[in-house]
């Protein structure tokens, strides 16, 4: 794809002796949201971790902004401009919300205006600013994890199942936040099981199964195609509408 920000070509990843990713091919178009869907254990989280360099690809090519980043060290990949919200959220529980944000802002103190913008979506973070992140609820930790990834503008953000176990009101705020990011020309790659969420935000859909990409189309087309959903994801809009 000509206007892809990130491309994976034939990416294989081994974890120990297990061959998890078995030739993953897809492109993430610039300025849009690509949703990576698939059953549990399909290899979605492993794909994001491989992009971040947390697993080293054993074969294949990962290209970000024209540079091949496969095999780079994780900090260098982050510095190239990729933000990451892991499935486990990865908040530093012993540090306060503020300290978590200080570390997330590499360039210096967190920008006050951008912080206020984030507080607009996630007001709990302002309230708990000086509290250890360990006391936050699951949803609030998720907000913090997202806030860390977006406190400085990054060209690409990888987000792994942000809605897992999160209350609907917070999900609505997440939708607004990601929507504004998208309009601000941030590219997003989202792993999601919540189809309503995926449908509300996604422009492109990529479906994985058994460590491979098995389907690509626009999100709108997939949303309309119940048969494919049932076949590939084992879900239907009725169940998730």
């Amino acid at each position: 794809m000509a206007d892809a920000l990130l491309t994976l070509e034939g990416v294989h990843t081994h974890i120990g002796q297990y061959h998890i990713l078995q030739g993953v091919d897809f492109a993430v178009p610039r300025g849009a949201m690509t949703v990576l869907l698939g059953r549990n254990g399909a290899g979605k989280s492993t794909t994001l971790r491989t992009i971040m360099g947390l697993w080293k690809p054993s074969r294949g090519k990962i290209t970000f902004e024209g540079r091949e980043i496969g095999g780079w060290a994780t900090p260098d990949i982050a510095r190239a401009g990729i933000g990451y919200v892991p499935e486990t959220m990865g908040v530093f529980a012993d540090l306060t919300v503020r300290e978590n944000m200080i570390l997330a802002a590499r360039a210096g103190a967190p920008d006050a205006a951008r912080l206020e913008w984030i507080f607009g979506f996630f007001p709990a973070l302002k309230r708990f600013w000086t509290h250890p992140a360990g006391v936050l609820s699951g949803g609030q930790k998720q907000m913090l994890s997202i806030a860390r990834a977006i406190i400085e503008p990054r060209p690409l953000i990888l987000i792994d199942e942000p809605t897992k176990g999160i209350a609907p009101a917070i999900i609505d705020n997440m939708i607004s936040a990601f929507d504004e990011l998208k309009r601000g020309a941030t590219t997003l790659l989202l792993v999601e099981q919540n189809f309503r969420f995926a449908e509300a935000l996604g422009d492109h859909a990529v479906v994985m199964d058994d460590g491979r990409i098995v389907h690509r189309e626009t999100m709108a087309a997939l949303a309309a195609d119940t048969a494919t959903q049932t076949r590939l994801l084992g879900l239907s809009l009725e169940a998730h509408g």
């Binding site: 990865g90 540090l95 200080i102 570390l103 709990a124 309230r127 699951g138 949803g139 176990g165 209350a167």
Partner: protein
């Protein structure tokens, strides 16, 4: 990481601010141990003297152990070679003090302290450089492999002790205290040795400085974050290895400082000083909770209390009683007094 339950109140009603419960319970162990020891020791003056000795010894152990607990917390590295830095630091300090004998013997506190300061500086500079090299040559090749770490770092300790024999000889060396720091200050019936006070002041200063760095600087925040979740620190764009080298070098320098303080405390020095202290140091970092500076500080005091009380009551079981202390504490809190979240 633990799975989070995502239950959260809906955005409308503000959720109650969760109480941030500070965990003071382990701190109570210090007065508890002292209270248990009092009737056994019977003589209150002896009891106070032993308790003060314990505080001084605890501070010295803390200075030595603090770097090691962070090294483990940050990179899961078990470094028995830490004992080598204790010994080398002490020997470097002793060597520095030889030409400064006049300053040491002068009955002037300023000259005495200047001599000690210089010796400590040399000890810390030397152990920093050696620590840096040790990390590159010995530790780096065995990242993530505990068994190899134990073997190779213990090997490093043995080699260092042999090198000390080669350079300094195997005999016991005197490590005289400066004149103004000899003797005791008497308060009522209690004699407090001056040097113990100095050791306490130095240990406390290191503790406070460390807390300031860990809580007030970005470097310190990164260390604390890295102890919790190394991967995430890297995913935020920080090179954890550089951070680790910095911590390792600082920890080695502190071991050099601690070794110097310890040798002055004993007033003698042998090549085995490192292996002698390292056992207590490992007990301390395990009791405290690996990676926790607060836990390390508290555990240092507890271990020194047990060492001093039993050293007086039943010297033969002094080390065994510290192992017993470790077992009891681990039965109460399997991760140590202050477990680091996410480890």
């Amino acid at each position: 990481m633990v799975e989070q339950d995502g239950a959260t109140a809906a955005g409308g009603a503000p959720e109650p601010i969760p109480a941030h419960r500070a965990d003071y319970l382990p701190i109570l162990l210090v007065p508890l141990l002292a209270a248990v020891a009092l009737p056994l020791i019977a003589n209150p003056v002896t009891w106070i003297t032993l308790t003060i000795a314990a505080l001084a010894m605890g501070m010295m152990i803390f200075v030595i152990a603090s770097g090691l607990t962070l090294v483990f917390g940050l990179m899961d590295v078990l470094n028995f070679g830490h004992g080598a830095f204790i010994a080398i630091g002490a020997y470097l300090a002793m060597t520095t003090l030889i030409p400064l004998a006049d300053w040491i013997q002068a009955d002037q506190l300023a000259l005495n302290l200047a001599a000690l300061g210089l010796a400590i500086l040399v000890a810390m500079a030397g152990t920093s450089v050696i620590g840096w090299a040790f990390e590159r040559v010995i530790i780096m090749p065995v990242y993530g492999q505990h068994l190899k770490q134990i073997l190779i770092t213990t090997g490093g300790l043995i080699v260092a002790e042999q090198l000390i024999h080669v350079f300094w000889g195997g005999d016991q060396k005197p490590m005289p205290l400066p004149t103004a720091l000899r003797g005791a200050i008497t308060i009522g019936d209690v004699a407090v040795e001056k040097y113990r006070l100095l050791a306490m002041v130095v240990g406390l200063a290191v503790f406070v400085a460390m807390l300031l760095v860990l809580n007030r600087t970005k470097l310190g925040l990164l260390v604390r974050a890295g102890v919790e979740n190394r991967e995430m620190v890297e995913a935020l764009g920080y090179r954890i290895r550089r951070l680790f080298v910095a911590v390792f070098v600082a920890g080695s320098a502190l071991a050099g400082l601690g070794g110097t303080l310890w040798a002055l405390y004993r007033e003698t020095l042998t090549a085995g000083i490192g292996s002698e202290v390292i056992v207590l140091v490992f007990i301390v970092i395990i009791i405290g909770g690996l990676g926790s500076i607060g836990g390390c500080f508290l555990a240092s005091v507890l271990v020194a209390q047990v060492a001093n009380y039993t050293g007086y009551l039943a010297p033969k079981v002094a080390l065994a009683s510290n192992i017993l202390l470790m077992v009891i504490i681990l039965m109460w809190r399997p991760q140590g007094l202050y477990a680091v979240v996410g480890r």
